[in-house]
Structures are given as structure tokens and as C-alpha cells.
């Protein structure tokens, strides 16, 4: 075998993805340094290709393609959006049912003091009581519980709103020459419509400490409101 024949055989070996040269080619490799170099290059590339490990697909690729199609292909977007709407509706109904059932279970045992009892049970790692009434009784109980919770919420909201408003008024009165802005007209009409107070000297203005006390009062009211919301919202509704 000469060099030309060896090159031709090597090319055929590559194209057929083979790895074993003929006996004549092996003999030629041992005799010709140029062709031996070609053979070593072939082995080098073969080893490098074997070292190529499979590349892991990006986890987001499939969804990325489908989202891209959804936003750009009318025929696909219709069905995709219909699917999306359907699943959203199902999820909302399921969430409402879960919330109703959770409220019903909570209020069935101690409707008057449900939050305290619930927290006590949590602390003691005790399971929630399972209702044993018939279906209709249970439905009525759940509905009654929902009404009770809503009533509680409304009452508490009204009280907190009143207290917050009173604190805001105190704050506004304490500050001399409160400017009339749209929000003061809306929230504190009596102050906004009153005659502007006389300009006070710096000595008669409330001290920084007094303002801080009033600010803390408002802040505590807001904090109380948030705490109430955190406790009062039933477990079935995601908090935060």
C-alpha cells in the first residue's frame, strides 16, 4: 500500500465510522511516518469525540418554545389561552371551596372564639376536629360561619378605621399650619375647611418628642390592623 491508497482508506474509514484499518494499512503505518501521523490524528479526534459528553438540555427550553409559539402563532395561541382560562377558573373555584371548608371546620367547634381555639390547637399539635353532621347541616354551618367571619371583619375594620382616623386627626392638629391638600380634604374635612391657625412661634410649636409620640401612635394602629388581618384571615386563604 502506498500513501495515496492509505489516505483513501482512511477517508473511507471516517465516512463509514469504522475504527479498524486493514492489515495492509497497518503495515504501511509502521513504515511511513507521514501516514502514521495521519493515523494518530484520526485517533486523537476519535478520542476527543468520545470525550464529548452529552449536553444537558436547559430545563426551560420546552416551556420557552411553547410560550413563544403561544405569543406568536394565532392558531396555537387560541387553544393555549383557552386552556389557561379554563385552568384559572378551575383553580379559583377550588380555592373558594377550600376556603369555605376551612372556615366551616374552624367555626363549627367554637364559633365565638374561633381564632383562640385554633391557635391553641396549633400550639398543641392537635388535629382539627372533623365535622360529623349531615351534608345539609354542614352546608348551613359553613355558610353561617362565613357570615360570622365577614361580620367580624367588618366590625373590626370599622373600629380600626375610626381609631386610625382619630390618630391622623391628632397628628394633623398637632402640626401647626397644616397645608390643605387633596388628601386632607378627603380624610379630614373639618380641618381642611377650618380657618388656618395663627402662625405660631417656634417656641409654641410641638416639640420633636411630641411629634414622635403621635407618630408612634399612628404606627401602632397600623401595626395592629396588620396583625388583625394576619390572624383573622382563614387558613384556606394564602396570607401575605
Amino acid at each position: 500500500m502506498n500513501c495515496s491508497e492509505f489516505s483513501e482508506e482512511l477517508q473511507q474509514l471516517v465516512e463509514s465510522r469504522g475504527d479498524s484499518p486493514s492489515t495492509a494499512a497497518t503495515t504501511h503505518i509502521n513504515e511511513c511516518s507521514t501516514c502514521r501521523q495521519q493515523w494518530h490524528d484520526h485517533l486523537l479526534l476519535a478520542a476527543a469525540l468520545r470525550a464529548w459528553i452529552p449536553i444537558a438540555n436547559p430545563p426551560s427550553l420546552v416551556d420557552g418554545v411553547l410560550n413563544q409559539l403561544q405569543s406568536t402563532t394565532p392558531g396555537i395561541s387560541v387553544s393555549a389561552r383557552a386552556d389557561s382560562r379554563r385552568w384559572t377558573a378551575v383553580a379559583m373555584v377550588a380555592a373558594c371551596l377550600i376556603a369555605l371548608i376551612a372556615v366551616g371546620i374552624i367555626h363549627q367547634s367554637t364559633p365565638d372564639d374561633h381564632n383562640v381555639a385554633q391557635n391553641d390547637r396549633r400550639k398543641q399539635n392537635q388535629p382539627e376536629p372533623v365535622p360529623t353532621d349531615s351534608g345539609s347541616d354542614r352546608t348551613i354551618a359553613v355558610a353561617s360561619s362565613v357570615v360570622a367571619v365577614l361580620e367580624d371583619l367588618r366590625t373590626e375594620y370599622q373600629e380600626i378605621a375610626e381609631e386610625t382616623r382619630a390618630s391622623a386627626r391628632d397628628f394633623a392638629v398637632a402640626i401647626p399650619s397644616t397645608p390643605v391638600t387633596p388628601w386632607t380634604e378627603l380624610l379630614l374635612p373639618d380641618i381642611a375647611s377650618a380657618d388656618p391657625p395663627p402662625v405660631q412661634s417656634p417656641a409654641s410649636a410641638p416639640s420633636q418628642g411630641a411629634v414622635s409620640v403621635i407618630s408612634r401612635s399612628i404606627g401602632s394602629q397600623i401595626g395592629e390592623a396588620m396583625d388583625f388581618l394576619w390572624v383573622a384571615v382563614p387558613d384556606g386563604v394564602p396570607k401575605g
Binding site: V14, A48, A51, N57, I76
Partner: protein, 185 residues
């Protein structure tokens, strides 16, 4: 499920069919893009674009031909477009993949990385030809169809690609020892 049935499901707008289609071909497309571009994020973007384009143009697929080469043709074209855009912005492949300096000790890089680095230095036609033949394991005829060249041209490009890669690997100090063992010098 064969290619034709899968395509028909996709053309009907079947969501599960579309997902199956993308899942089936994502590996080949992403691997080709990654090897072509040498940059994972770019490869993901181009692979996504290629697969979406393939789905949108599925009606143009000739059902008597295999589907994979047709999809890879789209991926090759998207990679080419991406590279030309990058060149227009004067961003070279070398700067993107952060090639190691020649003085970097070879022990830090394995053989696969050496091959990837060498690939980025080939002409785009040679690299595509090499990848389609060796990585995607397509026949020379299929490579010729994808690259729209005669078979003889593909053979020439493949031969040159292999020779240049071997030269680059040797220049980086990766050599073979007689007895088919590899070592680094």
C-alpha cells in the same frame, strides 16, 4: 409515534403533540447550537428560536424526508444568522467563550474542552459540517442536503475540518502516542 403522525398532531394545534415535538428534538437542536456557538445562553436562545420556527413552518415539511435533518437545517441557518449578527456587532466568538491563554496549563482542560475550543477556530462551514457528521451522526448525503452543497464539497470540508482540528489540538499540546494512548506534553 412516527414523524408524520407527530407533525399532523402539531398542525392540528394539539398542545400535547407540540410538547412531544419539542421534547423529542430539543436535545439535538440545543447540542448543535451549543457546539456551534460555544455559548450556553446564546445556544438556548437560538435553539428556542429554531424549534419555534420549525413548528411554525411544519406545513412546509416534505413528509417523504426525515424530519430531523429538516429541523437541523433550520437550526444551522439560525446559528449562521446569529453569528453574522454578532460579527456585525464586532463581537467575536473568541471573546465570548473566554478562551484560555496559551500559557494556561493544559491540565486544567480536558479533551472535550480542547475540542470545543478548537472548533470555535474553524471556518463556519467546516464546523457545521464536522458537527452534523460527527455529533449529529448524519450521513454525508444528509449533511449535503442541509448545507445545500454537493456531496464532494462536504467530503472536502469534512476532511479539512478534521485536519485543522488535529493541527489545533496538537498545537495545544494534545498528542497521541503510538499504541493509541493519549498524553499531554
Amino acid at each position: 409515534m412516527d414523524d408524520r403522525e407527530l407533525v399532523e398532531r402539531c398542525l392540528r394545534g394539539d398542545r400535547d403533540g407540540l410538547r412531544t415535538f419539542v421534547e423529542q428534538f430539543q436535545g439535538w437542536v440545543f447540542a448543535l447550537c451549543f457546539r456551534q456557538l460555544g455559548h450556553r445562553q446564546d445556544a438556548e436562545d437560538v435553539a428556542q428560536e429554531s424549534l419555534a420556527r420549525a413548528v411554525r413552518h411544519l406545513a412546509q415539511w416534505d413528509g417523504i424526508r426525515p424530519l430531523k435533518p429538516w429541523i437541523l437545517t433550520i437550526a444551522v441557518n439560525r446559528c449562521r444568522t446569529h453569528l453574522s449578527r454578532k460579527n456585525t456587532r464586532a463581537r467575536t466568538i473568541d471573546s465570548e467563550i473566554d478562551l484560555p491563554a496559551p500559557t494556561t496549563p493544559l491540565a486544567k482542560f480536558d479533551l472535550a474542552e480542547e475540542l470545543q475550543l478548537a472548533l470555535q477556530q474553524l471556518r463556519e462551514e467546516y464546523r457545521t459540517c464536522f458537527l452534523l457528521f460527527h455529533q449529529q451522526e448524519l450521513s454525508l448525503q444528509e449533511v449535503a442536503q442541509i448545507m445545500q452543497c454537493p456531496d464532494g464539497t462536504i467530503k472536502t470540508w469534512l476532511h479539512r475540518a478534521r485536519r485543522e482540528l488535529a493541527d489545533l489540538l496538537r498545537a495545544r499540546g494534545v498528542v497521541t502516542e503510538e499504541g493509541h494512548e493519549l498524553f499531554r506534553v
